[in-house]
């Protein structure tokens, strides 16, 4: 019963997002998501697209402080989550570094000429035995944020 209600609400929320995104976004912008990435198959990011465009750095920054100092790993604004979802692949199916000039982060940052230095330190492709766990935690946080909206509040 709870499940059913939450699913319906989630659908409504998701639908609203997609509609909002489609109407608000110029057609050219749609192509910024790298084809073949997980994100390419989704309607919206962890926040409304307009918000993500302008404020993704703020989201990531708040999240990073909570993670580094508080050890909190269940954030939908996890950078590992960004990489996991937006990573593109080459013809051989190998992940391509996301900060490369033709990839999701790299292309946009090159276009707006804003220095991108997250990947000086952070892995630009999911790598290592814990990459899956990091991505999973982010994915679950996104899901919970979407589902939780109706169900958790009284």
């Amino acid at each position: 019963m709870v499940t059913a209600v939450s699913t319906t609400r989630t659908h409504a929320v998701a639908l609203l997002w997609i509609l909002a995104v489609l109407t608000a976004m110029p057609a050219s912008a749609r192509s910024t998501v790298v084809p073949g990435s997980e994100a390419a198959g989704l309607g919206a990011c962890v926040e409304p697209t307009e918000l993500m465009r302008r404020q993704h750095m703020e989201f990531i920054k708040h999240q990073r402080d909570r993670t580094v100092h508080g050890g909190i790993r269940t954030s939908k604004h996890s950078l590992a989550g960004c990489v996991e979802c937006h990573i593109g692949h080459d013809a051989q199916g190998q992940a391509v570094p996301i900060d490369r000039a033709d990839q999701f982060c790299g292309a946009c940052h090159a276009y707006v000429a804003v220095d991108l230095n997250c990947f000086d330190c952070h892995a630009a492709v999911p790598r290592g035995p814990m990459a899956g766990s990091l991505a999973e935690a982010a994915r679950r946080a996104v899901d919970e944020a979407q589902h939780g909206q109706g169900a958790v509040q009284p």
Binding site: H11, P126, G128, A131, A137
Partner: protein, 257 residues
């Protein structure tokens, strides 16, 4: 329209998939939703635990580098390569090392001791005191580490550390592991496998590897829990801190030094 339709379909499938799990989670949030081996931390760390290590030097074998190798694998230190043109002798002084093996001889008695040496995770860490930006910090659970986002690479913490536990990244890196971000121009050191802590995994790479070799010289655990294996060991065996004179109350204790 058809394009839109497929998109909604994909979105729907994903959300449905998630919802199937989330439904369970809503009823019993503590239950792990998917078949995960990890439980990511969702509340800030607090002072109810203090992570630490106990090292029984009697069990630490000469020539064995299992802990060092395991640390390098775990944290991607084995992925660092000498930059092109670097002299091997110079590179040996500039590469990052989080834990090293040390062999000692007592000048008077000639007794030899082997031990692994790493960040001692002090209660009063000099590296934290001196850091101008607060990048060098102690987490509430006792882990001393560097917030690389605010580290400006001044290396003053390395000047202040009594244990030479820290490394400066002298070269550009590209093959980092997702769970260990690290890069040129910042300082880093042992963080007691903080990713393992945050995902509810047991032990540290070094302690695990030491146990696997059968030596069992490194014990990891919660110093604040009197019933933990490490606390029981420390309560029963005579141990000491390196540079006890500095009164730093280290989180790493040594037996037989």
């Amino acid at each position: 329209m058809s394009e839109r339709g497929t998109e909604i379909d994909r979105e729907r499938r994903r959300l449905l998939g998630a919802a199937a799990g989330a439904g369970v989670a809503l009823v019993a949030p503590a239950v792990v939703v998917r078949a995960l081996e990890t439980t990511p931390r969702d509340a800030p760390v607090d002072g109810r635990v203090r992570w630490g290590l106990a090292i029984d030097t009697a069990k630490c074998a000469a020539g064995c580098t299992a802990c060092v190798d395991a640390c390098a694998r775990e944290n991607g230190l084995d992925l660092q390569h000498p930059p092109e043109g670097a002299e091997p002798a110079d590179w040996a002084t500039q590469r990052a090392v989080w834990v090293r093996k040390v062999r000692l001889r007592d000048d008077q008695t000639g007794r030899e001791t082997n031990l692994p040496l790493m960040c001692q995770h002090c209660e009063h860490p000099p590296c934290v005191d001196v850091c101008p930006t607060g990048a060098s910090f102690k987490r509430a659970d006792g882990i001393v580490m560097v917030d690389r986002h605010t580290c400006i690479g001044c290396r003053y913490c390395m000047m202040a550390c009594p244990y030479k536990a820290r490394s400066f990244i002298h070269e550009a890196l590209s093959d980092q592991l997702s769970h260990v971000p690290r890069g040129k121009g910042c300082v880093e050191s042992c963080n007691l496998c903080v990713h393992r802590r945050d995902f509810g995994l047991p032990s540290t790479a070094c302690a695990e590897a030491c146990a696997e070799t059968g030596h069992g010289a490194i014990l990891f655990g919660d110093l604040a829990d009197p019933d933990s294996a490490i606390s029981r060991f420390l309560a029963s065996e005579p141990t000491r801190q390196i540079r006890e004179d500095l009164a730093l109350n280290t989180g790493v204790r040594y037996a037989g030094v």
